[in-house]
Symmetry: C2
Subunit: 334 residues, 2 copies
């Protein structure tokens, strides 16, 4: 293994002790099946295996490829594809896996596609306020009936309060989560089944209705989630090399740009510095103290972890200055 100083940049760095802290904190709060970690956040079976070692054996996926990769890695004990998919070839591919697969359905078309592909289990995805997938709560019962008529086992309902998980004020998060879950409970009454799957990192200890929480970001965190009052810490940064400095105008440039960072939540942050802007291969920043020198390494903290990791091939797990493991981001793509 190598040291951090010898990594080619830009490189994703996972701070191993912080990751372990986050995984342990979640396992203590929501042990075993109470948490169904979402692999979309990290797209890495080695990290999922670490989550499994903390007692979480059921996982959430966002794409068929994530399901395939998790099953092939031996992590297919109970996989929820928490997303609507209608593509026959991809659905058949996951139906043929040696794994327990449950798929989200929210319409007659998605039920037909799942049944035609030979899938056996589903959850009815209910819209609880986020304008995205999910049926109207009042339609959930009829969809469950349709699914059962196609010989799909209906395990229950799922509903993601994605518009609530990032609210900075905890009391407001509590209030709105209750509103969302009231809708989900109503739908669950009509659907039946043992599972109510919901929640995310921002509501992991707020959502008391869900039988399982679909949290993903808690493992690695990001600066957007880092602003909330959560017991999880930022464990992922992008290691970058300073490639140019301008002492007259007081800025430096490092090799971590738009192709190394998810930008939908805005600019990344750099400790002790102000980020001016990112371009394809660069971040330009000024410093509170002395500017770094060309060749110096810096840590860039992404604003949003999921689309950041999706650009990269590897996670480098570090312990102080040592790279102790290199994990392939093996669930990239769809």
């Amino acid at each position: 293994m190598t040291t951090v100083g010898h990594l080619a940049t830009p490189a994703l760095v996972v701070h191993g002790a912080t990751l372990d802290h986050n995984l342990a904190a979640m396992a203590a709060a929501l042990p075993g099946s109470r948490c169904r970690p979402h692999v979309k956040a990290h797209k890495t079976t080695a990290l999922a295996r670490r989550q499994q070692a903390h007692g979480h054996r059921n996982f959430t996926c966002a794409t068929p490829l994530e399901v395939v990769g998790m099953a092939r890695a031996g992590l297919g004990e109970d996989l929820l594809l928490a997303n609507e998919v209608v593509e026959p070839s991809r659905l058949r591919a996951i139906a043929q896996l040696d794994a327990r697969i449950t798929i989200a359905v929210d319409s007659p078309a998605t039920i037909t596609a799942a049944a035609d592909a030979g899938l056996h289990e589903c959850m009815v995805d209910v819209n609880v306020g986020l304008p995205r997938c999910g049926c109207a709560p009042e339609d959930a019962g009829a969809l469950a009936e349709q699914a059962r008529s196609r010989e799909l086992e209906v395990r229950g309902v799922m509903g993601y309060e994605g518009h609530v998980v990032g609210l900075p004020d905890r009391a407001e998060r509590v209030r709105q989560t209750e509103e969302c879950m009231a809708l989900l409970v109503r739908a669950h009454g009509a659907v039946g089944g043992p599972v109510v799957s919901a929640g995310g990192t921002g509501t992991f200890d707020i959502n008391r209705v869900a039988t399982e929480i679909q949290a993903g970001s808690y493992a690695l965190m990001d600066s957007a989630y880092g602003e909330l009052d959560l017991p999880f810490r930022r464990a992922l940064s992008v290691l970058a090399t300073v490639v140019s400095t301008n002492r007259r105008d007081g800025y430096a440039v490092a090799d971590c740009g738009l192709k190394a960072l998810g930008m939908d939540h805005g600019n990344p942050t750099i400790d002790g510095a102000t980020v001016w802007f990112c371009s394809d291969e660069h971040v330009t920043f000024s410093c509170d103290g002395m500017l770094p020198k060309v060749g110096d390494r810096i840590q860039v903290w992404p604003a949003h972890v999921d689309p950041t990791i999706a650009y990269h091939e590897h996670l480098h797990v570090v312990d102080d200055d040592q790279v102790v493991e290199v994990w392939p981001v093996d669930l990239r793509g769809w």
Copy 2:
């Protein structure tokens, strides 16, 4: 080959006739060595080969990996790495290629790194106003001297007016380009050498100082560049499948999200529709007319082409409904 209707989504689609129009328009305006196409925009050697067929034999790269890939694809006649790199292993890797490599330098450290790695040619990168890489114009001569003392051939100067290329008002683009190029001309006077490399798609016919224009986006374009008065047309979209609809609230959801789109220039666009927001795997949108049905295909036009392509593995070249070629995005990474 398959039809567009059978592609698994999200999938990058290159509209072949439009691409050909764009390449021909650039080749007519700036034939041969007058344009040094920037491969960072598409990261695809098959597309570079198409540019070469239009007479452009010299290329610009942003990362060492792009240089390696271009050289291995037989496109290494004259490659400019228009970026500062100090990593010894990556510099040695490109120095050993059977290709003509020129590297940008803007500091003593970058000159030392290039010379130590065994590179033979450089251009002095001059800051012409964009707060990114490039030396102060008044330092260019001394850097050229230092490079020559390390037995680097100095081919000339480069300077990118990146803060000007996207200005919507053409007269303002003309005026500011002149200001930038006055700085570059002054530096060139002190540096010498036959090459003045500058410009981009937004100034391709405005910058009359550069001996070669480093345009990249013109080939595929995007909605940001599409707002300017340029003779190039949008040739790249992301094909997506509608996976959910909500007729009560009047929106639909398709499977093209933050991991399929560069988001730094904001939301993508959909013809005849209003994009509400993107999340990791979804775009939510309303329509001017009827909502589409689950399973329908739509075209999503990215706001910024470069970081969009960097998420994907393939470009699918289409002619009407037929996929006529599939090009690997083989220059991904660093």
